[in-house]
């Protein structure tokens, strides 16, 4: 009974960890806006976690600069399974306007599998909520799959 309660409450409180890999700050501001009372993602239990070890969902923004690539990978290694990786905006998916730069390691797909991509430059807060909600659903499925 307790196990079921814990599983239910866990699915309703996915914690977010936000990694900025050289983003222009546009996407970061929108993500923070999502957590403010106007959009209030905490209705769905989304909460910013202080450390990757507490996180369920990792939100990556920015085109992954060469400097931040290693740090991103190190952070992602610390996130316990099951985890869900969400890319915010166009940058992590393709490099956006920084594509082809010597200091940008653009597509994040080279390193990790991305579960949900939120397109836009920057995405609207509503789109961010939609993406996070989708990630939470995927997380729930993953958790159930892990139990079996």
């Amino acid at each position: 009974m307790f196990k079921k309660m814990i599983a239910d409450s866990m699915s309703k409180s996915p914690w977010i960890y936000h990694v900025n890999t050289g983003s222009c700050n546009g996407c970061d501001i929108e993500l923070v806006a999502v957590l403010t009372p106007r959009y209030d993602a905490e209705r769905f239990g989304f909460k910013l976690a202080g450390t990757p070890r507490h996180a369920d969902i990792v939100v990556v923004s920015g085109p992954i600069t060469s400097q931040s690539k290693e740090r991103l990978l190190r952070t992602l290694e610390q996130v316990p399974e099951p985890r869900c990786i969400v890319t915010l905006g166009s940058c992590p998916q393709s490099g956006n306007v920084f594509k082809g730069s010597y200091s940008v390691e653009a597509p994040i797909e080279k390193f990790v599998h991305v579960d949900v991509a939120i397109a836009g430059c920057t995405p609207k807060p509503e789109a961010v909520i939609e993406g996070l909600y989708k990630a939470a659903m995927i997380l729930k499925e993953k958790r159930e799959a892990m139990k079996k």
């Binding site: 209030d40 393709s94 306007v97 594509k99 949900v116 991509a117 397109a119 509503e126 789109a127 909520i129």
Partner: protein, 233 residues
């Protein structure tokens, strides 16, 4: 001093929350929001301006030869690479690209694509204006690249061959159907045929003019004769 704050606090208890009830109630984007790209292949003339102008290289095109003198072209708009600056929309001379107000672009990166295909004739050769031209300027007005120059007074027709995208719009708009794409090796023959046709046309025109003049003269003479008769009376 406490009172105004207390009043506000109590009134807030009965007011609606300022939180948007988003997933339950859909929120429309503001007018002129630049969201998901829509592409109309029917309108596209394949000038390639959007591909050239796109800063993050989100727009690509591929060709597939169908073998019967036509080819299938496909434009791919990668929404996970787009900055939504709207430059492609601004540069599209036929308004085939529009940035809609749909911002729900969430999901697998592989699904975040807008695509459109068309089948056009493969056009080779250079644009050639035949002898039937009446210098109406329809081709000049409809050219998406604005590289055709027609002057009615001096009867000149010019085109910048290097910038021609071979879309064939001028050909379809020409009322006299005198525009044609001529291969390099047939160019001299076409020029010759045009010159000959022009000579014939000029001779015919001169003949017609002479006939018209003669008719006018005869009419004038008849009128004068009538006037003289009237004076005699």
């Amino acid at each position: 001093m406490m009172f105004p704050f207390l009043r506000k606090a109590i009134s807030n208890l009965f007011s609606k929350p300022s939180t948007e009830n988003f997933p339950a109630v859909n929120v429309e984007a503001k007018p002129n929001y630049r969201g998901r790209i829509e592409y109309d292949p029917e309108k596209c003339v394949n000038c390639g301006e959007c591909v050239k102008v796109c800063a993050p290289e989100a727009i690509t095109r591929t060709y597939e030869d169908l073998g019967d003198g036509t080819r299938k072209g496909t434009y791919h708009f990668n929404l996970t690479s787009c900055t939504f600056c709207g430059t492609c929309q601004d540069f599209c001379s036929t308004n085939a690209i529009t940035l809609t107000e749909d911002y729900h672009m969430v999901g697998d990166a592989a699904d975040l694509f807008t695509e459109g295909s068309w089948i056009h004739k493969i056009i080779t050769g250079k644009l050639f204006c035949g002898a039937d031209c009446i210098f109406c300027g329809m081709c000049m007005r409809n050219c998406p690249e604005q590289i055709i120059n027609v002057d009615r007074k001096t009867k000149t027709w010019e085109v910048d061959h290097d910038r021609c995208i071979k879309c064939g719009i001028c050909q379809s708009k020409c009322p006299k159907k005198c525009l044609d794409f001529v291969e390099e090796e047939d160019w001299a023959a076409a020029e010759k045929a045009k010159a000959e046709a022009l000579v014939v046309k000029e001779a015919e025109e001169a003949k017609a003019k002479a006939a018209k003049l003669a008719a006018a003269k005869a009419a004038k003479a008849a009128k004068e004769a009538e006037a003289a008769k009237a004076a005699e009376k």
